[in-house]
């Protein structure tokens, strides 16, 4: 019953964006939208996805606000884009409104049909076997790190590729930042003092999420995102570009290689059944924790590079 109220709030916050044409407002509405959607994920029984969405929403707002700040900074050359009401209703009269109504009716027709007993075979198989096969208590982590390692590997590869693309597609293609160069953002002394207290808490909590990923909700991605938010706070405290992006990129690629090596070693060890069964749970636990730590480090490095590129280069 509570979930219906949350769903209705979700749809209302989505409708805000449709009827708005100013970019700052749209970004704030989008932040609210992703906050509410992550809560709905949580109450649908998907804690890992909810945590990832909560971390992602902070980064999307940061990326968009950097671009939009630049957009309004160069305001002199821009003709204001506002949808006039007449123009909007002219668009409504066209093909869109009947299309949307037909689509909605179609959806209603499909979901009022009797339930055709969805097969739960895979769910039961995973849930009953993962404790003996993989170890740990979190089924999602077991699927991510053992049953479907290839997914995770290619996802990590896509993150590496996107970091490379962001570095090489931008207008400023060289990756050198003038060391020790202060930025224009000024924070008050009180904010700096308080953020200094908060920063170690964020890093500690990220480490907790990473190490406890196989027992409770959390895991490599969520912990990595939490560690990456630490770098945002660090930027807001010191206002300085003093880490070379090249070294972090090399570190990220090295960690990616070690993820691949670790998973290959684990697959071959498991296939050969060389290990005595008495030590198997220990090795399983070590594998899960190591994989989580590596993935967390990699995600933290990747998002740190993305944030740094945006704040140092794309903002100009």
């Amino acid at each position: 019953m509570e979930i219906n109220a949350l769903f209705i709030l979700w749809i209302i916050s989505g409708l805000f964006i449709v009827f708005e044409s100013r970019l700052y407002r749209i970004i704030i509405y989008f932040g609210i939208f992703s906050l509410i959607s992550s809560v709905v994920y949580l109450f649908l029984g998907a804690p890992d996805v909810a945590m990832a969405e909560a971390g992602i929403s902070a980064f999307t707002t940061v990326f968009f606000i950097i671009f939009v700040g630049k957009y309004y900074g160069n305001q002199t050359n821009i003709t204001r884009e506002k949808i006039e009401i007449n123009q909007f209703f002219r668009k409504l009269k066209g093909i869109t409104l009947p299309f949307v109504f037909c689509a909605g009716l179609f959806a209603l027709y499909i979901y009022t049909m009797p339930d055709t007993a969805a097969s739960t075979y895979l769910k039961e198989w995973y849930l009953s076997n993962f404790i003996s096969d993989v170890g740990g208590k979190n089924a999602v982590t077991a699927i991510l790190l053992a049953y479907r390692v290839y997914d995770t590997l290619f996802e990590a590869l896509i993150l590496v590729v996107s970091v490379v693309a962001v570095v090489h597609m931008s207008h400023f293609s060289d990756s050198s930042v003038s060391d020790g160069h202060h930025s224009e953002i000024e924070n008050s002394g009180m904010a700096v003092f308080t953020l200094r207290i908060i920063c170690p808490i964020i890093v500690l909590f990220g480490g907790y999420l990473v190490v406890n990923g196989h027992i409770s909700a959390g895991g490599g991605f969520q912990g990595g995102l939490a560690v990456a938010t630490f770098f945002i706070c660090r930027y807001m405290v010191y206002n300085i570009y003093d880490i070379s992006v090249k070294r972090v990129m090399q570190l990220e690629e090295l960690i990616f290689l070690s993820i691949i090596l670790l998973s290959i070693i684990a697959v071959f060890l498991g296939a050969a059944a060389l290990l005595p069964t008495a030590y198997l749970p220990m090795f399983q636990r070590a594998y899960l924790i190591l994989m989580n730590v590596f993935i967390g480090l990699k995600v933290a490095c990747g998002f740190f590079i993305l944030f740094y590129r945006y704040i140092a280069f794309e903002r100009r």
């Binding site: 100013r22 700052y24 309004y72 204001r80 008050s188 009180m190 904010a191 308080t194 207290i197 808490i201």
Partner: protein, 116 residues
């Protein structure tokens, strides 16, 4: 009356006090007509309301792992909530919100209230 029912009673009373604070915050947000009084009321009352409400839950659960985590949340909220309010008010002040007829970043022409 055993100890647990007394705990629950006190906890419920404290929780309802916190809820009352939050409802005052809603009234403040809708009745006041300028941004600075609004953020004053919202941040102060919301921080106090959060503190009281979570303390109520701590009292309900007694000494356990659950209430330990709640205490951590209380500490984080007590640090962060005033900080966010401070930074927002500072950004509004630095952008020249007080000055009449300034062009706000939103792309609108805004006029602040003239009355006092």
């Amino acid at each position: 009356m055993d100890i647990q029912s007394i705990q629950y009673l006190i906890g419920n009373i404290v929780i309802s006090i916190g809820i009352a604070f939050m409802v005052f915050g809603v009234f403040g947000i809708f009745l006041l007509k300028d941004f600075y009084p609004r953020i004053l009321v919202a941040s102060k009352i919301d921080t106090v309301g959060m503190f009281t409400l979570i303390m109520g839950f701590v009292i309900r659960h007694g000494i356990s792992f659950f209430s330990g985590k709640l205490m951590l949340i209380i500490i984080i909220m007590l640090i962060l909530n005033p900080l966010v309010a401070h930074i927002m008010a500072r950004s509004a002040y630095l952008s020249g919100y007080e000055v009449a007829e300034t062009e706000i970043d939103d792309g609108e022409r805004e006029t602040t209230l003239k009355e006092n």
